[in-house]
């Protein structure tokens, strides 16, 4: 074996250890709910808890709503910036990164202050939470879409479609979206992962969500939070698997990979 390969394997091994040891430890711990016996008791407890289902499905609903709103806003925006306003791109990129700069607690204070008084008193509406999540996931969604658009020649494909008689809706739905499907999916799953674990916004806007539920569980129980963590981890991986599966065989995706 050559020296270089040996080093590569060493680094890979270290990475795997770094990644899997805490995971394995959490899993191991979650199996010890019964004294001296390994069991899935903590998982049964979690899944039997009606609050788990309620909070989990609430978070799924927020996540899916945030993804839909995000796609509707960020795909046309990124497309238009690429097509017609390339000069404002740095400004737009800066704006999309703001959620990284502004701490969630500051953000939620802003939301509460702005929307608990007229003209837009929507502080109690779940819409505010969805919009908040849309903004929080903006760096991921916008960037994923923008990267997807970079892989195709947006102006020329647009013109080709137009010369064949296509109006804007047709260009967007039949040409742009299908070709950035994998990118949109990527952004969607990142949004999904963020919303599923989010704590601050849900707590301060007093809405049911998975993040606060896990926190409360951690306050009162020993093994169940670990079980919960493993379950959410498995779900995230399942989501990635779905992404891979849907992305596979997508001609747009394959061609992009081959062309770049």
């Amino acid at each position: 074996m050559r020296r270089g390969t040996l080093w590569s394997w060493l680094w890979i091994g270290l990475g795997v250890i770094y990644f899997f040891v805490p995971l394995a430890a959490t899993f191991w711990f979650s199996l010890q709910a019964k004294l001296n016996v390994l069991s899935f008791q903590s998982y049964v407890n979690v899944l039997k808890d009606p609050d788990f289902a309620k909070n989990f499905s609430a978070s799924v609903l927020w996540a899916v709503s945030a993804i839909i709103v995000g796609v509707l806003i960020f795909v046309p925006t990124a497309y238009w910036v690429r097509l017609r306003l390339p000069r404002v791109r740095p400004a737009v990129e800066f704006v999309t990164l703001l959620p990284f700069v502004v701490p969630a607690i500051v953000f939620v204070y802003g939301l509460v202050r702005t929307f608990s008084r007229p003209p837009l008193m929507i502080i109690n509406s779940p819409l505010l939470l969805v919009f908040g999540y849309t903004i929080m996931s903006m760096p991921y969604m916008y960037r994923a879409v923008d990267t997807g658009l970079r892989a195709i020649d947006v102006p020329v494909l647009t013109e080709a479609a137009q010369s064949l008689g296509a109006g804007w809706p047709t260009v967007m739905l039949r040409v742009v979206l299908p070709n950035i499907r994998v990118a949109v999916l990527g952004g969607s799953f990142l949004t999904f992962a963020i919303v599923m674990g989010e704590y601050t916004l849900a707590t301060w806007l007093v809405k049911p969500a998975f993040g606060p539920y896990m926190y409360e569980l951690g306050q009162s129980r020993a093994y169940e939070p670990s079980a919960c963590a493993i379950i959410s981890f498995a779900l995230t991986w399942a989501a990635m698997g779905i992404m891979q599966f849907v992305g596979r065989g997508a001609p747009g995706g394959v061609q992009v990979a081959a062309g770049h």
Partner: protein, 351 residues
Amino acid sequence: MVFLRLSHLSKDFAQTAAVQDFNLEIEKGELVTFLGPSGCGKTTTLRMVAGFELPTEGRVELNGVDITTRPPNKRNVGMVFQSYALFPNMTVGDNIGFGLRVSRRPQREIRERVEEMLGTIRMPDLSKRFPYQLSGGQQQRVALARALAIKPQVLLLDEPLSALDAKIRVELRFEIRRIQRELGITTIYVTHDQEEALSLSDRVVVMNAGRIEQVGAPFEIYNYPATPFVAGFVGTLNQLRCRVIDAAKGKLAFDGQEFVTATPLQPTDSSVTVMIRPEQLHLGILQGENHLTGKVDAVAFLGSVVRMVIRLGESVVTLDVLNTRGLALPKVGSEVPLSFPAQSSWILGER
């Protein structure tokens, strides 16, 4: 009958004029090439016909209707791009049928039309392939079929062969011309490749710096260039700075060697620039022609022709010889005689 009329078309981009006062009338079924160096305004003009650019001034009339401000998707104009621009998410068949699906034609008609177009581009079995599974030449054929499937009134081709390699380029050039003739479709073809322009067009529009330099048949453009730019851009041209020795007899001196031209000359003792194409010059001495002597500077074997650069004093001339298997190539540095008939040289634009 004039089918496409471009009158006084101008386009300014942020103070710089990309196209200025462009006037052209195109007949139905004609193939017109816009030829010029990059940045000459040929693509901008094409894009104004397609509707992708709005003219600053002037009008575009198609079949008697003013379409200057009509959006591109309402023009029924087919366009082929240099980068093929096939939709990567669609099969060949779906790409070709795209325009028909957009205009909600019945399924059966779409299927038949796609089949027909696949036959026209001679790729009948590749309907189910995706663009990334095709070669560049095949992709461009599909792009052509896609543009033609909607039965456009005008076909616009923007440097369609520039991304392809030499052999495919020549092949596809004739293919485009064949299909264009078969369908009798009015076509504008933009290129910077003069060989392409000369070999395919009914008429060539030579452009430079946003203006038309000359419009004419390829034969005319090549043999009777109207401006110094056209003379220099289309083909290779020897420009000999000569002194007039005897205007009445057409006698000139170049590098101290005398020769005669059939072109009318300016008064004796003035200076003129005489033009002669490389293929008009012959190696060796031919009776009844002009003779000059020079030294071989370079010999380039190009296949069908051999191009030589011959030095005469301070200047050089280029000379083309048709290749034969028995050809004896002169050595670099050797002295060679050149011949050319008096009728083959001419004077440009010194009207």
